[in-house]
Assembly symmetry: D4
Homo-oligomer: 252 residues x 8
């Protein structure tokens, strides 16, 4: 029920086509989720400049193909995350224009042109080469969400001068995503060098007492640097999503 329906209802009451008790009954049973959608409509608001997203990990190749077909029909951009090479190849047969990124494990179908909707640039920093898949997932996602993206690789804290050599890149970003496994110390150092929001992504890189990313996660949650927030282990997508919300230009 949208505003037109409401207008018709009131007109019918005014006209006497609908008795008050009938109108009352219809209003009382008004499916509030519809007005709720009408009022908030965050999905539509958000969708401007946002792709359709499919989490490929727990789905079969067939399921992914069905969903992507449905999405692609509307001409929107489509992003499939955590999709294996095998599933991506099956998808490529139907969508030869789609691009698969083996490292990021993303499949991208770009049907609309990129338009920069951000206030500034999102910088994705990556501690070691083993953290690259998560960093790449964040970078691909952020671009598909219509942000400009820069990347900085292999600047772990054990060789701090490598990071310090890139202070220009740090200062140019409007949001920084820091991806690190093992002890997860990089966000603390970065957070101390800049004054923009820093989103920390722990990765499951490591062995033994890294406990599949718990060590990095705890390190980031306990960062002594202010202004750092954290997402789930290996959640490059989520970091890019949050960074998009931060970076999005708003009219207000």
């Amino acid at each position: 029920m949208d505003i037109n329906d409401l207008k018709h209802l009131l007109t019918a009451v005014q006209n006497g086509d609908l008795s008050i008790s009938e109108g009352l009954e219809r209003l009382r049973n008004l499916p509030f989720e519809d007005t709720e959608i009408a009022k908030i409509d965050h999905h539509r608001a958000l969708r401007q400049g946002v792709p359709e997203v499919v989490l490929g990990e727990s789905k079969t190749a067939d399921q992914i193909a069905t969903i992507v077909k449905h999405m692609a029909e509307h001409g929107d951009n489509v992003l499939v995350t955590r999709i294996s090479r095998e599933k991506a190849e099956a998808l490529s047969n139907s969508y030869p224009d789609g691009e698969y990124d083996l490292l990021a494990r993303t499949f991208v179908l770009q049907q609309k042109d990129f338009q920069d909707l951000g206030r500034g640039k999102i910088l994705v920093i990556c501690a070691g080469t083993s953290d690259l898949p998560v960093a790449k997932e964040a970078a691909v996602t952020a671009r598909m969400f219509n942000n400009r993206v820069a990347e900085l690789v292999d600047v772990g804290v054990a060789g701090i001068h490598r990071l310090l050599a890139h202070t220009d890149a740090l200062r140019e970003a409007s949001v920084i995503i820091v991806v690190a496994g093992m002890e997860g110390a990089l966000p603390s150092v970065v957070g101390g060098l800049v004054d923009v929001p820093v989103i920390a992504v722990p990765t499951s890189v490591g062995y033994g007492a890294s406990f599949n990313g718990i060590a990095a996660l705890l390190g980031m949650l306990n960062s002594c640097a202010g202004g750092i927030t954290v997402v789930n282990i290996d959640n490059g997508f989520g970091a890019a999503f949050a960074a998009t919300r931060i970076n999005r230009k708003r009219e207000s």
Copy 2:
């Protein structure tokens, strides 16, 4: 060593007051932390509109007094967090204008006027009344960082209509801090209703299998809603710090 010092050095070399090898030596031993400060200077940049902050928890009343005295002399605003009533009373003797917030456990010495430095308003949402101390710490901190702040209390997910009644407040915020203990589900619901950045703060409220906030922390890290980032348990200060970085108006 600041730019003037560098200028003097170069002038002395040009004048012959300093030989090249002497200049070389002085430059080679140049304390780089100084140039580094000069170049990055995030502290100063950030400090515009930022109070001096003291973490009161692990310090004695005397230590706090000494630090606050040092800070207050520059005329800056001073914020002491996690300070007990006893320590705050001792501090009030020296600073009768300071305000202690028993719930937030903050002591605030406002020496400069509030100026709104944000793009919009920071909204602090609180699931239950037991989460109030953390929410208040976030709100007080955010205000001291020169942000406009709104608050919403007792809108936990078990009575979802209480939250839905406040969609206007949700839509007006530029950043939302969601404070919740127990199962920590509120950020997921909020994150699904808005498209601005949401910072989730787990609290140690609960008992038994809440494990002093671990349940809430894990719930928030695994939120099925996009765009949510998380800070440490009970870290209202950190959430406000991160929200400030997001909300800060920048010239770029």
Copy 3:
């Protein structure tokens, strides 16, 4: 906004006192939580035969007194849980008719007569005497929720014949709450002897590797007996609440 308000609105539209666009505007902004309450109204439905409840643990004596006063004015029964002896004594001054149960840590103000609203009896079983506070909290709560309640104490699995001697009591119950700490094995044995719902409550009783109730919690979650569900550690109140929902007579 209740049904009367809606009727007035429609009448005003019919009368021409309100234009369609004005009516539209008022309906569009209709606080949906109100219709939502009107439609679902679980609170009222549930409240029949249900006391007002205050969790006393994290509140000051003053806060509790204020809340209880507000609740007691409506003539409802009031239940305060997890309230210390000191706070209860303060409360007793204002409500000399209230009863404090030191073991259960409950304060009960019975203003309406007990009426049996259940299909049958709720049986609360307790493994050891140290588990009694949690069992008592469950029993007091269940009675305040207008259920008949029976209790069985000190029937731990290490002396299995003590439990087997009470099969009559087991068979007479319509729901059984089993409270146990340490290894938390009692619900498995009980669940194998009856065919009614069994709610298991782990307690923090124990030391060392009981980890404040984790051992009992895990034991209960892994019960090899079917039909057992679990609540949080020491959550006697929650078990009684769930048992009430199960035991409540419904017209359907």
Copy 4:
């Protein structure tokens, strides 16, 4: 030894066919488990309308076939849970009428007609599509236990209006099983909307800090909504078993 045996024994003593010392000896060695079964006999009571159940997970195809053969001979319904496609196919050769549900991983051999033994309907709610296998296991099991079952899929808390659109379904249920992974927040929201028993089933869906379902499990145990009980991670079968006990019509 049942009551008839006892009667014969006593008659023999009365007749002198059995001396007192012989009778004493036979009574003293009376296998008490038999009287115990005679007295409690929960198995038979429960079995009315209950299938034979085999947990397929840790058994070989041969072992399953042997057990199913034994069970099927009595003409009972047979339910095999957690059975892989390979094992189910082997089983289908012997029981072509059996139905395998790939998603629920159940094999069902329906030899007796369904009869509704419940007070009402069991509703199985599922937060996301990845939680479907556990929800389906619960639904299939509940039906095999002779309950009417309704299902509601993909109504996670991040899009709360999806759930609110189904309040009718919620209100019609006599028990609700809520299946959710990740942060496990759905039971709290559902528990706040209804006043019937809610059984929460955490799933191992998620990654990183979901720790194979621990995050969801803790979230559910700490639910701020009353009346919620919890079963083991991924335990759709157990939830359906408990729901059956709650829903079962009793003569009392």
Copy 5:
């Protein structure tokens, strides 16, 4: 109901004093826990040479006094464990002959003479002086259970020669209780030196990553030496109880 009762019942049936149906009813309702006790009677069997035991920790001084009074009346020995100095002093007023061991936190009322009921001697070994309270609890308990007991203190693995100097003591024992905190390595070394049963007791001695005894507990569970079994953290009483069962002379 014991065997005499059964005999009377049968005689009454034989005499016609009791009809068959009356006898049947009485037998059918026969409280089986009694026959069960009659048949197993482990309590009595065990009680020979066993004191009455009260766990003092979670009881008030009054509660302890009441229980001890009840026990002492039968002339049995009484052992109170985990009892604080304050509670023990209160108890001493009523039982001036009782002995309080401050280190072991035990109160002992010896009313019957010690008699050696064991096959051999129980040796209690203690890694460090901080582990002494647990070791003493084990030693006092074992003596009260009528075992001969020897003790060996401060023979931790970091000074392995201290232990090796006592091989005679090791070889003389019939059971060895090894009490150790921190890394809990001592049982492995002892287990490699002897061929009698070794019971390992982890203590909560340590700090940081000892996690209140978890480190020691895990160390002991993973001992590379065969023949070692483990009890709960700080459970000196339980170790002595198990050692008594092992050491008890049996007629078989």
Copy 6:
């Protein structure tokens, strides 16, 4: 260096073949581990009636074959534990008389006759059929250590009458090994029924919150029944080793 070597040394000194300083030097450097072996010699003492044991799990088929060959040459019995079917088949080629137990995953080469070296019988009790592999490992091991062994299967606590029907078997044992997964409650019940030593073996059977045996392990460590000790998860071998030490007839 054995006693003969010592005798030769002393004789040489007496004879003057060795000067005192030479003898001194040789004695000072005397490899004390040899005297230590001579004095304690637990290995030999234990070896009477004890097989050679190989842990097959982490070894290749070749490594196992080499070790077994070395052991078998001395005519001793050989026990290989945790050996897969593939490795066992390879071994069977060389030792056609060896017996592989698929369930227990043991390979047994019996070269010496069984001789009963125990005081009584070791009873191995098993909660469910899934726990059988661990129970079988314990049983096979105990027999190879020359104990008489009885077994009791599928007597879990959810059907307590199944266990109670076997009180005779319980009372005949001199040591009882109780093997259980899931909630691990069986040892508590057994420990309450008997007065002989009970060794509890948690198994990794279960899913979800069983955490691969942690739930069972914690349950057993926190048993409310006295006299229970615990070994590592799935450690059937270790339980049998400990039971052997307890059951071994000693001359003392």
Copy 7:
């Protein structure tokens, strides 16, 4: 038994004062721990330049006084660690020359002059002021072990330039102890700047997800910088002990 005793024994055999079998018996029973001490004697070797150490934490003031008295009599230096102010004051009465360090919680009785026994200097670095107690314990201990010690305070990674300003101090050290709580990232940065051994000490400083030092401990164990080793949480003493072993000048 020392070498003289051995010489006497051999002489007696040579003289015929002792028969070979008597000598044999005496040698066979030779308390090997003595020869072992004689051979290894690490205690004495180490003691040169090492104080007597008492762990004050779990001891009463009386116990500490007794032990210190015993130690002080030999004229050695005495170090008491983890001693509270109250206990230290009691100790000061007997030893007015002793120095109590409130921050380090150490009591030092210096009876012998400091002598530098190290190859170089031990540098103790401390991330934040809250980590100072642990750092001070390390520094005081290292000095009492006769090492030269330097200290560097408040150089956490969030302000990396503060650390970089002290590269000279870093390069001058022969061993570096890095003390840090919260995320524990400092050792990684330091380890990347130097090539000497780095010992990382996690502290329990932090709150929430720091879990009393677990976050810092895991961070340090997973350091991406090579050459870093770790000690227990808050174990400043242990770090100093290990650093002493590394720094100790050896004749080899």
Copy 8:
């Protein structure tokens, strides 16, 4: 920018080829990481006698080949760790002189002669044969870092005499690496026998409550022997790296 660049800059200023403001600008923007490298240059200092190292685990055979090619061109020694047999065979085709150690999982390309750069010998001790892979990784690494290395295998604490028989080897080492899984007790015993630095390496050897090395890790962190430091689980490489730093001969 190196010192020559600085010299040219100053010369240009002196010559007037560069104005002061131009020089100022260039100096102000001076990439400080370069001076930082110039000043610290730990990489070069360390590289003397140090191989190039590649962590093979998370890299493809192609990636490893590319990196090794790059490294080998400079004539340095190359060490690849955690490399599988398959990848190593691929590598052997290009580098037939390379040596693959199947146990240690290392591939070594020795292009420069070994030169002893250490003060003494590094001893690698290994508790059980299952710990050998980690011990071998440590030994191979230490040799490639130009240390003399000795090895001691299978000296676990359950047979303490095996270790005591090797006191000579212990005393000859300048650093000892102790590798142990299960309860991880060996370092405590070794630490008590020597006075040189001991580096403990927990391994993931074990099952059940060993939790993939956590038990050993905790045991080592809580060692009651002084002077022990710990590295990550299975981190043989890290232990050798740290041992190298300790053992390295320095001119100071």
